[in-house]
């Protein structure tokens, strides 16, 4: 019997002809919190699926508590002591919380005992799960996993987009595993969190384990260079791998009205009262924690929902959007974080690029194939989209997918871009290209509103930033002054100042 709790050796997984894992290995000691790191596409999620039995491996073996074993389903993995919590909670929305517990055969009392320390002590167990906020569901999923006292708890991006108070409870619960005979596998993009929480880190690159690092002060650099690989031309230090050159913001011409003026807009339960101006030629950053009203704001601005109160002025004239088509006609377009919300995954790149051009009934007629090819070629060249797999967009990488989402709006008369976390889940190189493109768009006279969950993007890309908390603008500052501590404090509702005082 080995002294390791969980061991994976030389795991191979192919999807058809695609090799997702070449040689992945992992060794978890009892009582440790072990980070699993890797850039997008490195094979993290595939390894998770193999470990939990969601997909069978094509090679290699998995040893749990000294016993060689192959799980065939998450249920089997759960019974053998390995439980996972995903970013997307495994909670059935049309069952109550209690029924969800019964479904997974979770002891109710043990579950209830977890709730108070995790900050959801007032949860109604008979509530229909689908009516609870997403963050709560994720914590419920986590509490349920704790309640069955697993040997290995696998957390996939558990803290991503979780409000600060709930994150604290989760982190505390994870820390309690340290020094016991049970372990946590912690997957996160957030280097700071990993550095503060984990004991060791396994790094994957291109489907293979490339290193195991003891997490000590300064280990972050090693992890980043392992993730990037030796062939990378990126600078080694994690400090500034994505810098873009920026020309100073062009001075505003006279007193032209702002491209988009948002005045006292409210919508839904989160968005209370938001006002700001967005000018031509600038990139305005927007910072907010999960669920502060930014989703509703972007839905209102892009014509997906009507505001409950307030007004939008486009170039000084009042505008009412009843449908995204109205916003597009006013030159305002949305690029969402979730590519699957913007793309026709089974259709070719060309059809995705030209989709907005055929939306209007006046364009329902014949398409000129030569003109179409020219438009598509221009867009592909301008954004350097990798088109080796262009017959179906879903075969493209996340970064290339996001480029297609942006490409469709170039040369389409768009003057205002709403970017909602456009670099989420995208590799570092494409991120840099998107930053450069964003600047280029602004310098070409477009106005860009950029919501981002990565605070360093504010000083990389933006000219100005506003912070929204509790559905209101609580802070406005120049990008030069937008260091991460300032933004974070404001995003948590500390040091609030009346909106617009810094303009």
């Amino acid at each position: 019997m080995s002294d390791l709790l969980l061991e994976a050796n030389g795991v191979v997984k192919r999807y058809g002809s695609v090799v997702a894992l070449r040689d992945a290995s992992l060794a978890i000691r009892p009582g440790e919190i072990h980070a699993l790191m890797g850039a997008n596409g490195a094979g993290k999620s595939t390894l998770v699926k193999v470990l939990t039995g969601a997909v069978p491996p094509d090679g290699g073996d998995i040893v749990l508590k000294g016993e060689r074993r192959r799980a065939h389903s998450p249920a089997e993995a759960r019974r053998s002591g390995l439980v996972s919590v995903y970013q997307e909670p495994a909670i059935v929305p049309d069952l109550t919380v209690l029924e969800n517990l019964a479904l997974t055969e979770t002891p109710v009392d043990a579950f209830r005992a977890q709730l108070e320390p995790l900050g959801i002590g007032r949860l109604d167990l008979r509530a229909m799960a689908g009516t609870l906020p997403l963050a709560t569901l994720r914590v419920i999923d986590f509490a349920r996993a704790l309640a069955i006292e697993p040997d290995v708890l696998l957390l996939d991006e558990m803290t991503a987009a979780l409000p600060a108070d709930l994150t604290a409870g989760v982190i505390e619960a994870i820390k309690r595993f340290r020094g016991t005979d049970r372990s946590v596998i912690f997957i996160s993009h957030r280097m700071l969190e990993v550095a503060g929480l984990c004991d060791r880190a396994t790094v994957l690159r291109n489907g293979a384990t490339v290193g195991v690092v003891d997490v000590t002060p300064g280990a972050a650099d090693d992890i980043v260079s392992l993730m990037l690989g030796p062939g990378s031309d990126e600078p080694r230090a994690p400090g500034d791998p994505t810098a873009v050159t920026r020309t100073p913001m062009p001075s505003r011409v006279g007193d032209a009205p702002p491209r988009l003026a948002v005045q006292g807009v409210a919508a839904g339960r989160q968005l209370q009262d938001v006002s700001f101006d967005l000018h031509a030629g600038e990139v305005l950053g927007l910072v907010a924690l999960e669920g502060q009203g930014q989703d509703e704001l972007f839905e209102v601005l892009s014509g997906q929902r009507r505001p409950a109160a307030g007004e939008l002025l486009v170039d000084g004239a009042p505008a009412r959007f009843g449908h995204p088509a109205d916003a597009i006609r006013a030159g305002i377009v949305l690029v969402p974080a979730d590519r699957s919300a913007a793309l026709l995954m089974q259709r070719p790149v060309a059809e995705n690029v030209t989709l907005p051009r055929v939306a209007r009934p006046s364009r329902w007629g014949p398409i000129n194939p030569r003109r179409e090819r020219a438009i598509v070629r221009r867009a592909i060249e301008r954004l350097q989209i990798d088109t080796r797999a262009q017959s179906e967009v879903r075969r493209l990488s996340g970064g290339n997918q996001q480029k297609v989402t942006i490409a469709r709006w170039l040369d389409a008369g768009v003057r205002t871009y709403l970017f909602y976390d456009p670099t989420r889940g995208i590799d570092i190189r494409t991120k840099r290209e998107i930053y450069a493109l964003t600047r280029e768009l602004a310098e070409g006279g477009a106005a860009v509103l950029l919501f981002t969950s990565e605070l360093d993007e504010i000083h990389r890309v933006c000219d100005r930033a506003i912070v929204i908390f509790g559905g209101r603008v609580v802070h406005e500052l120049a990008a030069a002054a937008a260091d991460e501590p300032t933004l974070l404090r404001a995003a948590h509702g500390l040091e609030s100042r009346p909106a617009g005082s810094a303009a």
Partner: protein, 328 residues
């Protein structure tokens, strides 16, 4: 989920599969050839020009109804009201023909068809009712309404005019069915429209990802309203031609074609979930089903056995498609 690095690598098998996926016509042609071959073996000498002509004559109305299913299935919908609408059109035409002539009667017959499509479209596109439910309910309403109309019209009588009979039942040069004069341009219009028109693109877009289509500025509701009107008018035309093929018009004339019209589209490779497929496959699907019906009757298979085989074949072809187009 899949790795960035993994995109370009594809094996020869994967290539063959994706080639097949983009060209479902090839295996369908092979299947059709095999069926004709079996038919010829079972009953030597049956495969002649006049046989082909009669097969096409029966396949044309089915192929038009399959167009309705193809177009609606591309958006993730389905139109189960096509059979009653087709029957209604043929019956209405047959009651009006004595007073206004065959051409006007045919045009008049398409008006209630278009209206039914409009109601379907408003329910599905604007009220977001599930297409299955909406078109099933409309079938109930339409078949009831046609019965009421029939009671009111007992004195008037019906007549399928010679022009319509000629269109549906007669041939050119002895073997080219006249209905092709109407069908070929119609089919070309649908085929070209799906590939090379803005509206065709939108049908695929809506079926692939409705949310994305909306975000790109597509007013999905209106696309669907137009679609179901189009589908109902096509169904009406199919009904008129079928009345010509059979030589009579009754309120339930086209009913037996409902499920085969869905089957033809499914066999032709259109996904019932939307976003994938095309009309060329559905035309072949309609011909294949018609040949299959002949084959089963030549084999002297009793009606129950025919039904069972019919079902089994639909399932087998659909399963084969799923294998070919699945990604794994």
């Amino acid at each position: 989920m899949t790795a960035d690095a993994a995109v370009p690598r594809r094996s020869a098998f994967g290539d063959a599969r994706s080639w097949l996926r983009d060209r479902p016509i090839v295996p369908l042609l092979i299947l059709l050839g095999l069926l004709v071959l079996v038919l010829q073996i079972v009953q030597p000498g049956i495969v002649t020009a006049s046989w082909a002509s009669s097969t096409l004559r029966f396949a044309v109305p089915l192929a038009i109804l399959a167009a309705c299913q193809t177009l609606t299935m591309l958006t993730g919908g389905i139109d189960l009201s096509v059979a009653v609408v087709a029957s209604m059109a043929s019956y209405v035409m047959a009651t009006f023909v004595g007073d206004v002539g065959w051409l006007n009667a045919s045009l008049i017959a398409l008006v209630p068809a278009a209206l039914v499509g409009l109601v379907n479209g408003i329910g599905i596109g604007l009220f977001r009712v599930h297409p299955l439910i909406m078109t099933i309910s409309m079938s109930l309403i339409v078949s009831g309404a046609v019965n009421v109309y029939q009671r009111a019209n007992i004195a008037g009588g019906t007549r399928v005019p010679p022009e319509i009979r000629e269109l549906g039942g007669q041939t050119l040069f002895g073997f080219l069915p006249n209905s092709l004069v109407l069908f070929v341009p119609l089919a070309i219009l649908v085929l070209l429209g799906l590939r090379g028109s803005g509206y065709g693109r939108l049908l695929y877009a809506v079926g692939d990802n409705e949310v994305a289509a909306r975000l790109a500025g597509v007013r999905v509701g209106w696309v669907l309203v137009v679609l179901y009107v189009l589908s109902a008018v096509l169904a009406g035309i199919a009904g008129l031609i079928y009345a010509g093929v059979i030589g009579s018009a009754t309120p339930r004339l086209v009913d037996p074609y409902l499920l085969p019209s869905v089957a033809a589209a499914v066999v032709g490779g259109t996904s019932i979930f939307g976003g994938r497929g095309g009309y060329a496959g559905s035309i072949l699907g309609a011909i294949i089903l018609t040949v299959l019906t002949t084959l089963l009757s030549v084999l002297d298979a009793p009606e129950p056995v025919r039904q069972i085989l019919f079902g089994a074949i639909i399932l087998a072809v659909a399963a084969a498609y799923t294998r070919i187009t699945a990604d794994s």
